[in-house]
Symmetry: C2
Subunit: 365 residues, 2 copies
């Protein structure tokens, strides 16, 4: 079968350690540690976990000198490039570059002194370090000048974020620094989409996508996937982070799921398809699906497993899946590559599906 795919927006390639962002490179997944960076041991361990879960870049907050000092110990242990998230204090950027960060994130809302920015640019250029200029709606309105504040507050936040980015990008242009990634994040999908579409129109730098302080995992997954799904489906976005108030490893899984679903990445491991269940279901499909999902989490072959509750879509899904189960009253039919291969009693369903999936995976999918 033909496999059409999303046509990506062309952008300039930016090197971040051994990862390339933009320039046709695959969309990369970024994680962020939620440890105190100064606790080098805990942070290095979380970086390892994030990388194992699929993060190709990991970002660390470095609010204090102790945090950048810890970077020296964390960077050499990390399997992926480390990004230092810098706010307020330009010294942290210089220290992070010196400590081996592969990329620095600067927030124009928090570091605005032109001379300081040029110092950071010079240091990054010297060390071959990339810079992300990332605006957030929360730090884009000037609160130090009353007149400016009033004028800015009257503009839509997406316009304001892009304008702020424009002033900053001009400094990088003057300094001929091109190892640049841009981002603009809002807590809502609409503003994030509007801002990133405008960035894509104006510049050819790669774009980092994310939704900021998106809430709990429930609202966060929806807001993030809506914004990132819309932009990625238009070809916009070169590296992504899904973020919400919750487990950082689940943020990485969510980001990967998004890329799989948009065919921006070939799935690694089993893909579980489950019907949403309805008044036709004759068994607890939710429980079955979750048990199968959990039991196959370690599988690294790209096979599809369908858990279906009835005969409406069941046989169709079974035809497309490597292994499928269509649950009926008290028992279920097991399929392999679309062919029924047996009937399984209720209590044995999960074990039978898992065994069959492992058999198919062992035979190369």
């Amino acid at each position: 079968m033909e496999q059409p795919s999303i046509k990506r927006r062309p952008s300039r390639p930016v090197r971040v350690g051994r990862v390339t962002i933009g320039g046709g490179a695959p969309v990369s997944v970024q994680g962020m540690a939620k440890t105190y960076t100064a606790d080098a041991e805990a942070t290095a361990a979380q970086v390892q976990s994030l990388a194992a879960a699929g993060a190709e870049l990991v970002r660390l907050a470095v609010p204090n000198r102790q945090d950048t000092a810890a970077l020296r110990r964390i960077v050499p242990q990390s399997p992926v490039p480390i990004v230092a998230d810098v706010h307020f204090n330009p010294d942290r950027a210089l220290e992070a570059i010196d400590a081996g960060a592969a990329k620095i994130r600067l927030n124009p809302g928090n570091i605005s002194d032109d001379r300081q920015v040029r110092r950071i640019i010079a240091a990054a250029a010297g060390a071959g370090v990339a810079i992300r200029v990332g605006v957030n709606e929360g730090s884009v309105v000037d609160r130090t000048d009353r007149a400016r504040h009033a004028a800015e507050s009257a503009r839509p936040l997406d316009e304001l974020m892009v304008a702020k980015l424009g002033e900053y990008v001009e400094v990088f242009r003057q300094e001929r620094f091109e190892n640049l990634v841009l981002s603009a994040k809002s807590h809502d999908a609409f503003t994030t989409i509007a801002a990133c579409r405008e960035i894509a129109r104006r510049w050819n730098y790669p774009i980092h996508l994310g939704v900021t302080h998106s809430g709990t995992p429930t609202t966060g997954a929806i807001r993030s996937a809506a914004a990132l799904g819309a932009l990625l489906s238009e070809g916009i976005g070169d590296t992504i982070r899904v973020s919400y108030a919750g487990d950082p490893l689940r943020e990485v899984s969510a980001a990967l799921e998004l890329l799989y679903s948009l065919r921006l990445r070939a799935r690694v491991g089993a893909e579980l398809i489950a019907c949403p269940t309805c008044g036709r279901a004759r068994m607890d499909v939710v429980r079955l699906a979750e048990e199968v999902h959990a039991a196959l989490a370690d599988l690294d072959a790209p096979i599809t497993v369908a858990v279906m509750g009835c005969v409406v879509n069941g046989p169709g899904e079974a035809a497309n899946a490597d292994v499928a189960i269509c649950a009926g009253e008290g028992k279920a039919v097991l399929y392999r590559k679309g062919k029924p291969i047996g009937t399984v009693d209720g209590p044995e369903i999960v074990a039978a599906v898992v065994a069959e999936a492992r058999r198919v995976a062992a035979n190369g999918g």
Copy 2:
């Protein structure tokens, strides 16, 4: 501040009871009961819960004659129009129309006999009932004819779904039946997006959006929001269902969250903004956010509440939120409409935020 919004694709209005789909009507949220429809009492209760959670239409599966019989008792008790999901047996469609369903869903993959379709169309036209023609990737490939199966399997699923829809729509055109809604669902965002974009290009009927058997709540929310977010942000989509293997009320909340985030609907109740937490956070923001979220679930005033873990985006979010808390070391600063109004000790934070939010809500936001 200006409030730009998504420009919707023009479509023909379709009446489903007192709900209009398309023709510029707001995007409506559809729920689906997961009870056995034949159990009229349990189903009527779940329809009530779904409507209370925000579902404006509720769909019920009607595989058996007992299910359509139960519709007669469910429909009069329902606060929202009932949609009957019909597969395989055309009699179920006729019975459901007779029992008072406001809309029938037909799957071209499962009911293909031309004469039967015309009978259903005539009955629906006579009763003023709308019809959704909804194809799913799982039931789109002909498995009865080997040659046709081989030819169909070679085509991308999005093309195949739209082709199948086209054959069906032609019958409705011949019968001059225009009370029609179209849909095409895949389990992946890419195929769903491609198919719906093509439907939007070809016809001016309103479009129902959804991702089918999208997996567990974790993967389901991501796949659904990615596909629906992409389409809605392009103006495509007139009614939506988020579905996954899980609680049907959470499907409705997820659909609403998606519409809020894209500004397709004004939020009802408190909007919680929370930072994702990072190495800067000096308190358990996740726990705080979840406790505040739960404590304000009943609020129906459209106020924003921000729970922030540090000073980077905290004051900015506080400026945009009605009530905000910026957590520091052991204590937090409480903001009202951007102004700090006090300092709160760790254990009192949730109570203080909730009390302040209720005060603001009582004063009209």
